[in-house]
């Protein structure tokens, strides 16, 4: 499937959910697959189909990566099962000049923005062609070409950095918006507070995209805050907040596009809370059975973002079973090829361990490198 790097031309304007005082969650995609005209972003069919195909790719990837981890061929995976619409809808709504500051679940956004499947797979295997040079865990890659930041594990740190990036661009009169992803658990982190507060004060063109997927590992969203919602937290910073159905690609797209327009027009940052659900465990290291609530999964499976979009593309005759078979086959071979290639690529060199600590390795790193190269090798890796 061809990765789309440039978003569609802006469709005819429709009223913005940012201007509604409706406390409810913004929703566009109806049960029957039709769209509520109130907030329909007016996506052209090609884009809808491209997005649909991408969702399927990401969903399939997630499943394969879990299998690879179970087989011990990769060390770890942290997926986006059930959150694909929130992640890809928001990425799709950004303009080419906008930047993404990710959490760790948004590989779908990276791929949508143009990161190659091979580069991503190389990170999953930590080989010498991994953009992170095998230095970080799987799903901790980087892709400057896609204006996609460097992923780190510490929760919340990217939020403040996104604000600084957007703020810098604003002082340089460059029209770009920084969109930063984080989970609802991250709203408890210090950096959420710091980032939101600085963005409000300096009107940094930032979109704070909160994936409220209900859980922070085993801690439920209601244990993170006593506030009425996560979106309402914007009030503490003079930042408008909006809630949308995170499993509704059209609602996510609409809210994000309007937020980007709002920010880029100098009106300041926006906080978006996308209501979604983590259908998988937190990561391949986690077993959610231990803490999930009765019936929760069933409830959300009924609202699966891909099934809902599938209904829409069928209803609008944009899709059929043949196309699906072809797509599945194509994705299957794409992934197989990427995995096969990634597995063949050598691990990073010993020398590479000492590069990029500084621009040039000082004497102590040169000494340590020499010691390692001239010393014995470790077994079993």
């Amino acid at each position: 499937m061809a990765v789309q790097t440039t978003p569609p031309a802006a469709p005819p304007a429709s009223p913005s959910p940012l201007n509604t005082n409706d406390p409810d969650v913004i929703r566009v995609l109806r049960e029957d697959g039709s769209l509520d005209p109130a907030f329909d972003p007016g996506l052209d069919p090609e884009t809808v189909v491209a997005i649909y195909k991408h969702l399927v790719l990401v969903r399939t990837l997630d499943e394969r990566l879990v299998t690879l981890q179970r087989q011990g061929r990769i060390g770890f995976h942290i997926g986006s099962l059930g959150e694909e619409a929130a992640i890809i809808g928001s990425a799709a709504a950004c303009r080419p000049q906008d930047w993404l500051f990710p959490c760790y679940r948004e590989f779908g956004a990276a791929l949508y923005r143009g990161m190659t499947l091979q580069a991503y797979m190389n990170n999953m295997f930590g080989n010498s062609e991994d953009p992170a040079k095998g230095r970080q865990m799987p799903d901790h890659y980087t892709c400057r070409a896609a204006k996609f930041g460097s992923i780190s594990s510490p929760i919340g740190t990217q939020i403040t950095q996104a604000v600084g990036f957007a703020w810098a661009a604003k002082t340089r009169k460059e029209d770009l918006v920084a969109l930063t992803y984080f989970g609802e658990g991250a709203t408890s982190s210090s950096e959420f507070h710091n980032g939101m507060n600085f963005a409000g004060v300096f009107k940094a063109p930032t979109v704070f995209f909160c994936r409220n997927n209900g859980w922070a590992i085993s801690v439920p969203a209601e244990r993170q805050t006593a506030s009425e919602s996560f979106a309402v937290k914007g009030i503490a910073y003079g930042i408008p907040g909006v809630r949308c159905d995170g499993n509704d690609i059209f609602a996510v797209y609409k809210c994000t596009r309007d937020a980007v327009a709002h920010a880029s027009s100098g009106k300041g940052p926006i906080l978006i809370e996308a209501m979604t659900y983590r259908l998988s465990g937190h990561s391949t290291s986690d077993d959610p059975k231990a803490y999930r609530k009765e019936g929760e999964v069933e409830f959300w499976k009924k609202r699966d973002p891909i099934a809902r979009l599938h209904k829409h593309v069928l209803l609008n005759k944009l899709w059929d079973d043949d196309k699906q078979r072809m797509l599945d086959a194509q994705i299957d071979s794409q992934i197989k090829d990427a995995v096969a290639a990634a597995e063949k690529i050598a691990p990073p060199s010993l020398e590479s361990m000492f590069e990029d600590v500084f621009a040039e390795p000082p004497w102590h790193l040169q000494e340590q490198r020499t010691a390692l190269l001239n010393g014995p090798r470790a077994k079993g890796h």
Binding site: A186, S190, A216, S218, R223, Y291, M353, A378
Partner: protein, 324 residues
Amino acid sequence: MTQMNMVQAINDGLRHEMKRDDRVVILGEDVGKVGGVFRVTAGLFDEFGDDRVIDTPLSEGGIIGTAIGMALYGLVPVPEIQFADFIFPAYDQIVSELAKYRYRSGGEYPAKLVIRTPVGGGIRGGHYHSQSPESQFIHVAGLKVVCPSNPYDAKGLLLASIRDPDPVMFFEPKRIYRAAKGEVPEGEYTVPLGKASIIREGAHVTVIAWGAMLYEAIAAADEARTQGVECEILDLRTLWPLDIDTIIASVKKTGRVVVVHEAPKTCGFGGEIVALINEKAFLHLEAPPVRVTGFDTPFPYTLEMEYLPLAHRILPALLETARY
């Protein structure tokens, strides 16, 4: 006596202390219903309830800051930081507040907690699930720092830490959470803080290690023995206050020392140990003290076994030091 691994021993120690003293409370991320991502607090939520085993919001600053307040009130909080790599959002509360509380208040407000957190690499954790930040805490006056290497010590040191009047950083070497097994007495016993254990006596080289690297030191020493080098192996157990007497006695005997730790070499604890040995046993040194440590880079993922100071890197240091 029952056979336990580190996770079970620490869990047993926590349960024992919570039964003994109802002021002992646990708080942290995922420590409640699921019993922690490493299951160290498993079962405690059901046994002691959500007032004493508390799942917190995702904020280390909040965990330690509120734990300090609980301690000022008179509780004995044992907060868990999910990985030592994530302790830094709480660093200000630990170094500026916790460590200085008793001192700055003229003794009016001792703030006593035990901060438990898994440390160390070898579990494919990359940059942020592998680090060993001990020296960043040992440098701060007012903190005690502990790192057990086996289930018996883990429980005994935990009980001693909880009963000690001062704040304790309790670092748990996650790589051996399940790999290290051993006999652990039921119920009451403590392993005193500030006392190293001599794992093995030997005449030629003193090897100083702790936590997961102790086993690498032992493996290297076994190999060295086959080449005629007898190592005296010290397991520090408490990193600070350091058991200086045991170290100096050993160095005076061997005149040669190798220190092993996972943390990056520069300004790691090894440098402090070498400097102290210079101060207290200079004339006994027959070879330059050697540090076998992690490299001065972030902790790598794919190459972590080359990064860690494992037996294959310790052995040459032992032989060279012995033959210097």
